[in-house]
Symmetry: C2
Subunit: 344 residues, 2 copies
């Protein structure tokens, strides 16, 4: 398998290299041939060649079986005309990975680190399916000093294809989808709700479906997070709600993501950002990236058993009290990864 | 003082009448003349005359010193062409109440009801200032079966006037403003950030200002809510974040709001909705509406001491363990209100 390896900025290289080490280890054990090719991306690529997504990087990603990404961004580029985030959005769009899967679980032993009361955090196990290549992120914009606009646009086809991913996922889980919108105000949300309802009626009536307004959802996520199975939503709402949900687990450093399109090629990255404040200090939590690497094995390489191995090793380590400082542990990024390599 | 009284739908009449009783009581005690005129609004007005904001209601609100609103909406009107929410948006717009103030406090004794760990919920005391008459709520829309759009538009003037309210409020509080946007993606957010920065530099450099991305804010609100003083944000982000923040206090039923424009006229309503599931059962928590009535005394009627009286009575009742079921109490809406009328 051919993996495009994009370490990116800040703690990105640290966590991406952790995942690369673990992937190399499990591949050897399972006799799977896997090759990593590294490319410039994000702020690092702006510095190297003035473009957050250089042509060479983009071409390599389009040819790869999967892309493993660390993180991008940093204060250095925040005010510049070319920003690392533009590269990330351009990459998602070029790969046409319209479905961003963000599983949120509170691993045993982690309730103590959740900001929520332990009894509310326990048993959380949801999958957020966020639309990733449409909406306000990719609409027409008018920049301006005195007036600015952003457009949110959705087509029925864009809603249906990501809804399909959510319904299919629900069939393999607890069979429930909660679709989140703001249909009492937005036209795109009314289109969203209608398209989801009609697809449900025609092809997925075995799945339980309900709808929730985004403001109500931002409450329910912290009042009764264990009530949710699959949560389906549009790009911007998904950005906000998945970050909110990620801290239920105790730290955003634990949360992985997979971005998928029509084929098996996928983009895998932790939910957290480049954390410039701790970059270079070997303090970053590699769990989100290791769990993303597991998702890569499952979704892009068709190796569910290897994915299970990685996930089990991580769960075992956390249950044994191993972990980085953000979850109250004593490990460095390296020492935690060493331990996973030992037990995987 | 002339109060336009709009009970609305669901539990709206129950909580609005509770506030009316308490206001009448304190007005008598303080020799303040105050008159309530009731008007049809929301779903009730759709049923009565086919319009969620009848002309008569609108005219009366424009002439009043303040508007006291219960809640609007309900499943009965969700799928109809005319919806109660349209009346609410039209009223906000007609009154030009561009600044929605949503104070979030965790009252003593309420930490136990917060979904957050008590030590995180303690000491929360923030004021969310949400822009209320611009953004996606009022932009051009294209409704459609196969394609739909919503436009978000902000002008510099719209940002400045609401930012002024936030900075002025911060000067009377802890002197800090956190402005929330999505400047790494949206053009309107970049305009927002620039306008806030420039106003800050020219007129409010004594106030501490920082900026946070909306996704990060949705995390910080539950990780370290006591870190915030004044939170300033645009309409849609404010809708989501203020609902999220309201449950920190234990129940959305506790949270009040005031919507203000350039003069002293204001619109006062609890944050919660019409709660059709418990409507007519005398179970609704009147605290959010009582606290909104206190804000009315302070901001529209210039009676800060009466506002303090109401707020102190409510705090005393809660500290004494009185309260409705949503905060673990045994009171009905009526019995709680009786108690407040006794001690106020
Ligand atoms: C970096 C940023 C553009 C990105 C987004 O908003 O999608 C990030 O927050 C994410 O959630 O992956
Ligand atoms: C009823 C709805 C239109 C409204 C809004 O979104 O502004 C409500 O959620 C609120 O926050 O006051």
């Amino acid at each position: 398998a051919k993996i495009a390896f994009l370490p990116g900025d800040g703690v990105g290289p640290e966590v991406a290299n952790a995942a690369r080490r673990v992937l190399t280890q499990v591949a050897k054990k399972h006799d799977l041939s896997i090759g990593f090719n590294e490319f410039a991306f994000g702020g690092a690529a702006i510095d190297a060649c003035g473009d957050p997504l250089p042509e060479e990087t983009k071409a390599a990603c389009l040819e790869a079986d999967a892309i493993l990404l660390g993180a991008v961004g940093g204060p250095k580029w925040d005010m510049s005309e070319k920003r690392p985030e533009q590269g990330l959005l351009a990459l998602r769009s070029a790969l046409a990975v319209y479905a961003n899967l963000r599983p949120i679980q509170v691993a045993k032993g982690m309730e103590a680190h959740s900001p929520l009361k332990a009894e509310i955090a326990a048993d959380v196990d949801m999958l957020i399916v966020r639309e990733l290549t449409g909406g306000m992120y990719f609409g027409k914009r008018q920049e301006g000093k005195d007036k600015a606009t952003d457009e949110c646009l959705y087509t029925r086809g864009e809603v249906e294809r990501v809804a399909r991913i959510a319904f299919d996922a629900a069939r393999k889980r607890k069979g429930r989808v909660t679709s989140v919108d703001k249909a009492n105000v937005l036209a795109t949300s009314r289109l969203w709700r209608n398209a989801v309802n009609e697809l449900h009626a025609s092809e997925y009536s075995d799945v339980e479906l309900d709808h929730m307004l985004v403001d109500a959802m931002s409450m329910k996520l912290i009042q009764s997070p264990s009530a949710f199975d699959v949560v389906l939503t549009e790009n911007l709402f998904g950005d906000i709600l998945s970050d909110e949900a990620s801290v239920l687990s105790g730290s955003i450093g634990l949360a992985p993501s997979a971005s998928l399109g029509d084929g098996t090629r996928g983009l895998y990255e932790p939910i957290h950002g480049s954390a410039p404040d701790i970059a270079g200090e070997d303090k970053a939590n590699p769990v989100g990236t290791l769990a993303s690497a597991a998702m890569m094995m499952r979704y892009s390489l068709g190796k569910g058993e290897i994915a299970d191995d990685i996930e089990n090793a991580v769960a075992k380590a956390l249950a044994a009290g191993r972990g980085t400082a953000d979850i109250g542990g004593k490990d460095s990024c390296t020492s935690f990864t060493d331990y996973i390599c030992e037990i995987v």
